[in-house]
Amino acid sequence: MRARSNRVAFLVAAVSLVAACSGGGDITDSGDAVTTPSAPPQQSVAPGETAAAVTTTTVSPDTLPDCPTNALATATGTTEITFWHSMSAALGEEVVKLTDAYNASQDKVKVNLVQGSYEETADNYYLASQGDRPDLVQLPEYQMQAMVDSASTVPVGRCIEASGYDTSAFLPTALAAYATQGVQWSIPFNISNPVLFYNKKAFAAAGLDPNVPPKSLDEVRAFSKQLVDSGASKYGLALESGFDSGGGWYVEQWFCKAQEFYTDGDNGRTSRATEVLFNAPTGVEVLTYLQQLLQDGLAVDVGDNTQTGFDNLLKLADDKEPAAMTMATSASLGQVLAVLAGGQFPQIGPDDVGVGPMPGPDGLPGALIGGASLWPVDTGDDVRTAATWDFITYLVAAQQQSQWAAATGYIPVRTDALELDPYKSTLATDPRFGVAYAQLLSSPDAATSAGPVMGPLREVRSVLATAIAAIFDGADVTATLNAAAEQSNGLITDYNIRNS
């Protein structure tokens, strides 16, 4: 008995010792097959042409499912469809409102809603078998390649063709964001991009013009210095490293502004991405700049934003050590104003909030289409597919987009929504709602203005977020970014092997 217990204890100790000493690789490199990658062949496809059978792409246009949009006309009774969406809190309530109105306005289609977070919805969608998937799912822009590879949806482009739907009023960049290789996979529903939220009261107290936000990183530094030195605010800029924002998404935005590609393959749109380029000089430059701001006490790092999702915005309302500026998604504008109007924070009211374009290198303009899109699922049931298409056309119609944008802060996906109330009067009375839109329109007409598309984009953002958190802590920018790039490239290679 004694010998046995000693032996077991020794074994445990030995294993722990071995474990503690060895370096270990990346968990995603586990196993034999994955360590011998084969790079997929590159192939470019000009927009408009359908791709020839490519060995690595999983869906060839010849095998794309049809979208029988007129099946609804001949159907009897009410068709019930399920919509998995990812809008929470006030945004979710607006989705409920829109859906209720749709259900009430006609009796051919009834929509049932299921709500989750972006990650939950994606995970649940992939794990489900085709028969248990919903009829319509809303997924964020970074899920595009993974969704295409799942080969489980009806490309929205087929529905547009079949019904002769007029997309001329749509923002061309919005549609293009969700199309690759000549196929329009999904249709944009909620568009956002990061904007700068700032405290006008603090600006005024510091002697800055409260209606002129900083546009370049240099201006951010100068404004921050003035804010801090004058005592108007403890910090100039609040930074965070959440993977869906400051730790990942924003970097893609900065590359767009700088007119540089984030991955190869023209951001993964003409051919599959095989490596990331965020460790290019632009990336190093911006992050070094931000790191310097932190080290000079002009900016503060609120962490990875997981506690409330709004930690950086709350920093603006902090009454002890506030920051005067922060970058956040334009989609939160509606909620921010509503919360401030509730009087929770006496020192800052809804009128004290200013909104400006996201500052970037040299003040270059532009933004990527962010947000999410709608994917009709290939259920194999013609009537349900047609019903889903009907619901989609409702959600992206000008009137609904106007209502949606006015209530949230999302940008309407089509220009004719700007001429309809309620968004028209919202824009007229509160120009802050138009900042994200103007920023989007200011994007240069270049291939770099369409954001990166790659399978493991979500995981890559996670890796980059950890790297940025380290950088904010003071780590060497170049080395950290290079390490993150290497890890990301490994993720991409693994993904491509598993999906080809």
Partner: protein
């Protein structure tokens, strides 16, 4: 001995005061988190965010709890939790009774290996089974349904062992006399064995109810975004993310979620103790 041997370990005078003080101090520390949250739940919105905060029970209102109730649809969540817990508890008691009877009173081939099988399943943690259970539930169409929440928990090896233990302690003569009278297995089980095991069954029931009410991992995997079927535990998480500035809404939800169980605990304290210790003291 001058002192009474029966009073060995009894406390007198100063030691008594000391003990009471220590007990009170620790009780305050243990209860403080609950008290603080309860207090915050009973104060109204904006005041809760003022600081330094008063720790005195003044200016109390039910408005926060009511707001949490409405916004989180807590009534339905409570009903769901209650329904699932009651059904699972009943099911566990029944399946445990049946299986324990088989092990205690019946002889059958492979009895030993099957018992080891039961033992083995007790060691398997939820984290391993969750992934594929979710798939199984999915293929059965049980996602976002009551069946998905209930069925996987209907068998409990802990329950089987507990009841088997009690059955083994019933006098042999009872069973022999009954079989001489021609009493079959089921009659013996329901009319003799079960009633005699009532205290243990009560403990098992309470323990199972508590465990089911408090379950988090499995419900979070099987209920996805379907508010109609959520239990109170996953619903609480939703409250947390629903409104960033009104953190006191969470406290309102917490009070609603925890209160039924606290009451249950106070009322059924003895049974609970018996249930939890059955595994420990015997070793």
């Amino acid at each position: 001995m001058a002192t009474d041997i029966a009073s060995v370990g009894a406390t007198h005078g100063w030691r008594k005061v000391g003990r009471y003080s220590l007990l009170t101090f620790i009780a305050v520390v243990v209860l403080f988190p609950i008290y603080a949250v309860l207090l915050q739940a009973l104060k109204s919105g904006p005041d809760s965010l003022d600081h330094p905060r008063s720790l005195l029970p003044v200016d109390l209102t039910f408005s926060t709890i009511r707001a949490a109730w409405d916004q989180g649809d807590l009534g339905r969540l409570l009903l769901n939790s209650l329904f699932v817990a009651v059904v699972v508890t009943t099911g566990v008691i029944i399946t445990s009774l049946l299986a324990a009877y088989a092990f205690a009173f019946l002889e059958f081939p492979f009895k030993g290996p099957i018992f080891v099988f039961f033992l083995a399943t007790m060691l398997v943690p939820g984290e391993v089974t969750v992934v594929f259970n979710q798939r199984t539930a999915d293929s059965l169409g049980w996602i976002n349904s009551y069946q998905g929440l209930i069925v996987p928990s209907l068998a409990s090896t802990f329950g089987v062992f507990l009841v088997r233990q009690v059955f083994l302690q019933l006098p042999h003569e009872l069973r022999e006399a009954a079989s001489l009278d021609g009493v079959g297995h089921m009659r013996f089980l329901w009319e003799v064995a079960a009633p005699l095991s009532r205290p243990t069954l009560g403990a098992l029931g309470l323990f199972t109810f508590l465990g089911t009410w408090n379950a988090y991992l499995w419900p979070s995997q099987v209920i996805r975004g379907d508010r109609a079927h959520e239990t109170i535990q996953i619903g609480l998480d939703r409250l947390k993310s629903s409104d960033i500035s009104r953190l006191n809404l969470v406290t309102g939800g917490l009070v609603v979620a925890a209160l039924p169980i606290f009451i249950l605990l106070v009322v059924f304290q003895r049974q609970l103790v018996r249930g939890l210790t059955a595994g420990a003291v015997k070793g």
